[in-house]
Amino acid sequence: MNKLKVSTQIFLYVALILGAVGMLIPFLWMAVTSIKQPGEVFSTSGGIQWIPKHLIWHDAVIDGEKIRAWWGNYPDAWKEVNLFRLYLNSIFVACVGTIGQVGTSIMAAYAFARLQFPGRDRLFLAYLGTMMIPGSVTMIPVFVILKHIGLIDTYSALIIPGMFSAGGTFMLRQFFMSLPAELEDAAKIDGCGYTSILRQVILPLSKPAIATLTTFTFMGFWGNFMWPLVVTISEQIRTLPIGLSYFVGLHLTNYTQLMAASMMVVVPVILLFIFNQRYFVEGIKLSGLGGR
């Protein structure tokens, strides 16, 4: 590609910056609202308030009005939503589930990609076929099964059904197939068994694929809404999205607290993303390879 004309460059920058502003404004509004006084949200006269009227470090009385510190909504929301518990639950469920899914996927993908056994191709086809089934088809029976075993409203119900994925297996299998077979042969001659081949040859070479699968699986567990809603009853084991949604139901118009809670949920994820965005981008590209 040759160099762009200056006018084209300026046009591109203006368009991209306008778009970026559009992307950021809702987030900015969330941040601004979260540090406003609870009543301030409802006074719409005098235009849009991008800067809160009162920004003070400690609670105080100004003109006979009780004014709270700018960070005041945060501890309130933290306690009200029980965010600590929700975070713990979400982290626990997402970590265990991700380890499980990535682990089982690695093992199955290795078998499909590198080992010969009767019925391999047919079984793999069956795996592929199930990837098209909508989640809602299996959701109801799995719920019924778990209810029969008495696992509803437990961490197991949140974690175990998500630990097995045809999609993850498929993605890793495609990646393993692309690795050169010579290294493996060399390891075999050196007397390595299958487990050590997988551990010492395949896994070190597949770090990017595994990292992306891990990222995506984790995000899947982290953001999952429908399934946890279906299988949790008690407050003690709710994950973040569920807890937050109940909080909305109870405090429909408490916007400052709602926004403070949303900030505390969104900001850590955004920070994580900014530091690991390579894996996101690579993962999306990998997942899109099916289209090429």
Binding site: M23, W29, T104, T130, V269
Partner: protein, 402 residues
């Protein structure tokens, strides 16, 4: 898993190989076992149970009763009532319409993603910064963002309506601003409509060429001239009412999520914002980066301009990606709308934002009509299956693979 015995290999080659084979198969089954058990317990068996459940009436508390095709009849069937055909479950058809309506966002989203990707694919600095910012909604997607948008859409205190009201007040206080503003609005709207129709025609022409159907040389140009002229004549004729329409819209902006008319467009707008720089944009960006520069150079030598280059080189080269995004979006579209309905609208007003997925959930886990819900899920499955097959068949002919 011990050392291969090379000494005995020459004599006992065959049996050793067979033994190796058996050992390999055994190891393979071992590796597969955890995933396979999960696959059977959480996918295969549930699919069978689900199919059986679709033919039963079951509210979880009593034991299921086999009712044959009753669920499907009441879901999809019609009956006569006072001489008219009436759907057995009119809600289902309304929700199906909602689901499909909301998928209007798919082509709009794909087009905007492609435009953003084309801009980011240019040689300019700071692309990573832009990409990160545009991706933020996708990474933080979830309950928190829906809460945020519910607040933004609030008719009284929401940011969106505050902006519209403030701007409207300023603009319509003087004709010096309001008349030019109306003209700009009209031009933007007209150009957008013409652009969309142009893209549709170009797409049709391209498909016709691929399928070897007749497409007269000048048809595109003639059609575009007619459409363009018609739209701008219309805008000219209705300029006055457009002026007053914009004025009243801006002084009393709608209750976005609270009115049947605006609820679905609002959700589409939110979806466009969320998807602008998301997965699909990244996929497009990757596809654009994969187009060899030599092809552009060749097109330039042939004297192709920007527009021509796009249709002759870029569009065919990224068509597999377009095809992939389209299929995945349609499949996803039929299964979407649960979270927005649950958190933002409750499916309302008047059921106008209830999708099939939300209907399924309420049937299964609020009314405990497990059999009926299973029938809905199988309807979804069959639709997704047919769509995938059809797009695959058509796509195979239309899409250019490298």
């Amino acid at each position: 898993m011990s050392v291969v015995n090379t000494k005995t290999a020459p004599q006992k080659g065959r049996s050793r190989r067979r033994g190796n084979k058996a050992r390999e198969a055994l190891a393979a089954y071992g590796f597969l076992m955890p995933n396979f058990i999960g696959f059977v317990v959480f996918t295969s068996i549930p699919v069978v149970i689900s199919l059986l459940m679709a033919f039963t009436e079951w509210n979880i508390f009593k034991s299921p009763v086999w009712v044959g095709l009753t669920n499907f009849k009441s879901l999809l069937g019609f009956h006569r009532e006072a001489g008219h055909l009436v759907a057995n479950d009119p809600f289902f058809w309304q929700y199906l319409y909602n689901t499909i309506y909301l998928m209007v966002g798919i082509p709009l989203g794909m087009a905007s993603c492609l435009i953003v990707a084309l801009m980011m694919n240019q040689k300019i600095k700071g692309v990573v910064v832009f990409r990160t910012i545009y991706f933020l909604p996708s990474v933080s997607a979830g309950v928190a963002l829906l809460i945020l948008w519910k607040y933004l859409f609030n008719p009284e205190v929401g940011l969106l309506n505050q902006v519209i009201r403030d701007a409207g007040e300023k603009i319509f206080s003087t004709p010096l601003l309001s008349i030019p503003f109306t003209i700009v609005c009209a031009l933007v709207v007209g150009a957008t409509i013409v652009g969309v129709i142009a893209a549709v025609f170009a797409f049709l022409q391209w498909i016709c060429e691929k399928l070897n159907l007749l497409w007269p040389e000048n048809l595109y140009r003639v059609l575009m001239i007619i459409v363009g002229a018609a739209i701008f004549v219309l805008i000219g004729v209705y300029g006055r009412s457009l002026f007053f329409g914009i004025n009243s819209f801006m002084s009393t902006p709608p209750d976005w999520l609270g009115t049947v008319k605006w609820a679905k467009p609002s959700l589409i707008i939110m979806g466009l914002w969320g998807g602008l720089g998301g997965m699909n944009m990244i996929l497009y960006l990757a596809a654009l980066q994969g187009v060899p520069p030599s092809m552009y150079e060749a097109a330039e030598i042939d004297g192709a301009g920007g527009w021509k280059k796009f249709w002759a080189v870029t569009w065919p080269m990224i068509s597999p990606t377009t095809f992939y995004i389209l299929i995945m979006s349609i499949i996803g579209g039929f299964q979407s709308g649960f979270m927005t309905a649950r958190i933002m609208t409750g499916g309302g007003p008047a059921g106008s934002t209830t999708t099939i997925e939300y209907y399924l959930y309420t049937n299964a886990f609020e009314k405990f009509n497990m059999g009926y819900a299973s029938a809905i899920s199988w309807f979804l499955f069959i639709v997704v299956f047919i769509l995938t097959l059809v797009t695959w068949k058509v796509g195979g002919k239309v899409v250019t693979y490298e």
